[in-house]
């Protein structure tokens, strides 16, 4: 037995109806319900993806894509050799040597503890907005950075300190809460160690930032270098996990609309089964097997699901693209990183939503289909 007869009858039930019946009305409501559920889910996830991809872009733009630090102790042995190895094996990767510590940073009016980072890729002093706000300083103002390290002087041990001028105010790192001052590496080494120590190496790859950590780890493992490596995912795990969790929760919450639509579809298919009871008995009499009858109802349910979900997906994706391109939903300036509500349509996500809708439609059709297939044909003829 082939699938042709089931498809033929199902297609006639769906598009061959020649008069307006309650079944047609309820079928249209089912299509609308499922379409609306998919539409809402696609638009919501596009909105979420828009905001989340903005956050991810910020991370990629401002943070290290991978970081290497020693397995034991604080200093990396032979950092120059390590940097050369990574540069030669990873190609066009940007490599920055780092020292880090916590110091007291003071201006003319205030003093606060802050992170001090020495970087090999800068020759000027940068203060982030958090620190500049706390100290009330701006570009051109002078700062004093006081280390916990002490040096012996004729007057006894005194903390090491440097005086410097602020050259730039920068955005804080994603997720940063305490202020940060970035110094040229030599200044920071003098302040924190008193010798040319490197504590970490930062890597950046403009082309493949998310896989850089894994690639660097492979290179170092293959060359027997015992250091720790973290990629973007590890460096920002709490934030990325929160974003992923938010996505799942929104999917589940808005996806409940699909469940309600599927329940409506179940009622619709059950109603078709009741109204077409005689037809089904006749078809069974003509040779439709129970599996054929089940397939017929699955085709009906899936067809309704397909029409509704594809329509909803197309309309939802279209609306999200239009809103993103036109920037129609403006946001208050200065509050958000972007000027308009961003939308990002991910074809994989849309595919997943359609697949879930079709799965629910199949499930909704399965129950009445099972009921129909269990009946003896004579039951349908007898109760006409």
């Amino acid at each position: 037995m082939t699938f042709g007869a089931e498809l033929h009858v199902a297609s006639r039930y769906l598009v061959g109806t020649r008069r307006w019946t309650p079944v047609v009305t309820v079928t249209l409501i089912s299509v609308f319900g499922l379409g609306l559920g998919v539409f809402a889910l696609v638009v919501t996830l596009a909105l979420l993806d828009g905001f989340q991809s903005g956050i991810r872009s910020q991370i990629v733009a401002h943070a290290a894509h991978a970081e290497v630090w020693p397995t034991t102790g604080r200093r990396i042995e032979a950092p120059g050799n390590l940097a050369s190895l990574l540069q030669s094996e990873l190609g066009t990767v940007e490599i920055v040597q780092i020292v880090k510590g916590t110091c007291l940073v003071s201006s003319d009016t205030d003093a606060v503890p802050a992170s001090v980072v020495g970087r090999s890729d800068t020759d000027r002093v940068t203060v982030d907005r958090i620190l500049s706000r706390r100290l009330g300083v701006g570009v051109g103002d002078r700062l004093e950075v006081i280390s916990a390290r002490q040096r012996l002087t004729p007057m006894g041990p005194l903390p090491v300190r440097i005086r410097t001028e602020i050259a730039r105010i920068a955005s804080p790192r994603p997720g940063a809460e305490s202020g940060e001052v970035v110094l040229p590496i030599e200044q920071a080494q003098r302040l924190l160690w008193g010798e040319p120590v490197i504590e970490a190496i930062e890597l950046r790859d403009a082309e493949y930032p998310w896989s850089l950590g894994e690639r660097a780890r492979k290179v170092l493992d293959n060359n027997g270098v015992a250091v720790q490596v973290a990629g973007l995912e590890e460096l920002h795990r709490p934030l990325l996990t929160a974003l992923a969790l938010e996505r799942v929760m929104i999917f589940v919450a808005v996806g409940l609309m699909l469940v309600v639509a599927a329940l409506n579809l179940l009622c619709n298919v059950a109603m078709v089964a009741a109204e077409k009871r005689k037809d089904l008995a006749v078809m069974a009499g003509l040779g439709f097997t129970p599996p054929s009858l089940r397939r017929l109802f699955l085709v009906l349910g899936l067809s309704i699901g397909l029409i509704g979900s594809v329509t909803g997906a197309v309309l939802g994706s279209g609306l999200a693209v239009v809103l993103d391109r036109t920037g129609a939903l403006e946001l208050p300036r200065g509050v958000f990183m972007v000027e308009a509500v961003p939308f990002s349509v991910d074809p994989m996500t849309v595919g997943l939503v359609v697949a879930v809708a079709l799965g629910l439609a199949a499930l909704a059709a399965w129950l009445p289909a099972r009921m129909v297939a269990r009946r003896e044909p004579a039951e349908g003829l007898r109760y006409e």
Binding site: H8, G16, T17, R18, V282, G285, E376, L381
Partner: protein, 233 residues
Amino acid sequence: MSDAGIMVKATGLTKGFGSGLTRLEVLDDLDIEVTTGEMLAVVGPSGVGKSTLLHLIGLLDRPEQGRIVLDGMQTDDLDPSARAGLRNSTIGFVFQHHHLLDELDALDNVALPLRISGEGSGLARDRAAELLEAVGLTDRSSHFPDQLSGGEQQRVSVARALAMRPKLLLADEPTGNLDRVNSERLFQLVTELHLKAGLTSIIVTHNEEMARRCNRIFRLAPRVESSENVRKI
């Protein structure tokens, strides 16, 4: 005893509906035998179980007790799919209320059993067109059931019953909803096709005059049945 030449052999058929005090015993230990090529009329008062008997023989329902052998094949142990396959390949049904599918035109209705058997659309429609020609409805092939008269609907139903070249034709009061002229035309058509196709036919009818034109009449009465030979057609 050999069953050669026997198309239908049913023994000890028992069937009732409901349970307890509301149980209605319709058939009780009924035996019936129909020889190959025979045209048998089943008559009896309403509610006596004529349609139930036809449903049991046509494998549309299962007896509570008893055995049914169709064309030498024991049917009791067949699973639902095998029963459906046997209905499709061996049995043609004509129902009292035609039971055509409203969403299919006459041609597609007739072609449906062929499509169910796995026949391709083109061949199925060709065969359906031949059958519609045989019942005189070529010009109505693209009409839907609600665009056909009662007589035409029933002729389409006959054409559909013969689509798979069945060995056994079961007709449940095929003229029950037709006027006298159309009843006569339909009965003549069924008789002609019965002879032409070499069918074995069981026709449930209230029409005594038509019953007498069959080879044999099987009379069903509450708990009592009798059989009488009538004449050769």
